[in-house]
């Protein structure tokens, strides 16, 4: 029925050569090359980048249970952003308290309610995201992170 049945042997041979070629040349999966090329559009120059300064999962000296809370801290100049991931929920703090907090994913952005002390809360997004906050009139953006 399918073309594959007509020439299975030749197909197998060509696929085997391709398998070797992928191995020999350390060929990156094509969809990853596309992602890398397209990641350029995720570049944002708005505001200051708050880089990760600590990640409990990276800093832990020993293996921990996967069920624990993961804490990541970002910092730039005098501002820190702290995210605590507890399964499906993330609790965040920006200090000093921001006037606005936005959750930015690869495809969209939405605002999150933040209280006067800088606390906010949101559902753990699927895939990559970052926090953008306005503190004393300045915009800061965190590194991209992924929790699921």
């Amino acid at each position: 029925m399918s073309d594959a049945d007509d020439a299975p042997q030749a197909d197998d041979e060509l696929l085997a050569f391709l398998g070797e070629a992928i191995e020999d040349t350390d060929a990156v999966p094509p969809w990853l090359t596309r992602f890398a090329n397209e990641s350029h559009r995720l570049l944002s120059l708005e505001g200051e980048l708050a880089a990760i300064v600590s990640d409990s999962l990276v800093d832990a000296g020993e293996m921990r249970s996967g069920a624990g809370v993961r804490t990541i801290e970002f910092a730039v100049d005098g501002t820190t952003v702290r995210l605590e991931v507890d399964g499906a929920e993330i609790r965040g703090t920006v200090s000093p308290a921001p006037s606005e907090v936005h959750l930015v994913s690869e495809t969209d952005t939405h605002s999150i309610q933040v209280n006067q002390r800088g606390f906010f809360q949101f559902d753990t997004p699927a895939g990559l995201f970052r926090i953008v906050a306005v503190v004393d009139g300045s915009v800061i953006r965190t590194d991209w992170v992924r929790f699921s």
């Binding site: 197909d11 391709l18 999966p29 990853l32 090359t33 559009r41």
Partner: protein, 185 residues
């Protein structure tokens, strides 16, 4: 032809909005990123997550990187940290059922040279395929099931077989592959 730009110039241009400069960086450094990523003992999907994250870190933190030697080291460090976080997130201490494409045994030097030349030709042909054909054949060559391929590419599992056959037919029509298949006979 534009003169070749240094890593620093490419980064600077990319950050300034030059997508071509960014693509040149990707082309130049993606083997290093993938190499560092795939040696971590992660599952395939996890290795892919790490690969993606490394590029995002690079574009955001470009100021801290100045020369190619430092970039390669930087890539390894970022990949390692991201990989560790994933391993700890899943509380694994042992490397998983790794798919590491680069660790198979190597044949003798003559065999290796002939095979290497063949592999270069095969990849030259492969890169001329459509995105979908590249995805389908890359996964087929890595012995992925039709169901896995269908999910990745967004196809009906029943149509993977015929698409794969058509992609192989296209691949075989390229001069590089004709050369390979003639030599193999």
């Amino acid at each position: 032809m534009a003169p070749e730009r240094s890593t620093e110039e490419l980064l600077e241009a990319a950050v300034g909005g030059d997508a071509v400069a960014w693509q040149q960086l990707v082309e130049q450094f993606q083997p290093a990123v993938w190499g560092a990523t795939s040696r971590l003992g992660l599952r395939q999907t996890e290795a892919e997550e790490v690969f993606q994250t490394v590029w995002l870190r690079l574009i955001e933190r470009h100021e801290t990187i100045r020369d190619p030697a430092r970039l390669a080291g930087w890539i390894k460090t970022v990949a390692r940290n991201e990989g560790l976080a994933i391993l700890r997130r899943s509380a694994r201490t042992e490397p998983s059922d790794v798919i590491d494409l680069a660790t198979n045994a190597v044949d003798g030097p003559e065999v290796h040279l002939i095979r290497r030349a063949r592999s270069e030709l095969v990849m030259a042909g492969f890169r001329q395929l459509s995105e979908r054909c590249q995805d389908v054949l890359y996964m087929s060559a890595n012995k992925k099931s039709y169901v896995e391929i269908a999910e990745k590419v967004g196809l009906n599992p029943n149509s993977v077989s015929s698409i794969k056959a058509r992609c192989l037919e296209t691949l075989r029509s390229f001069s590089e592959i004709k050369q390979v298949m003639e030599t193999a006979e």
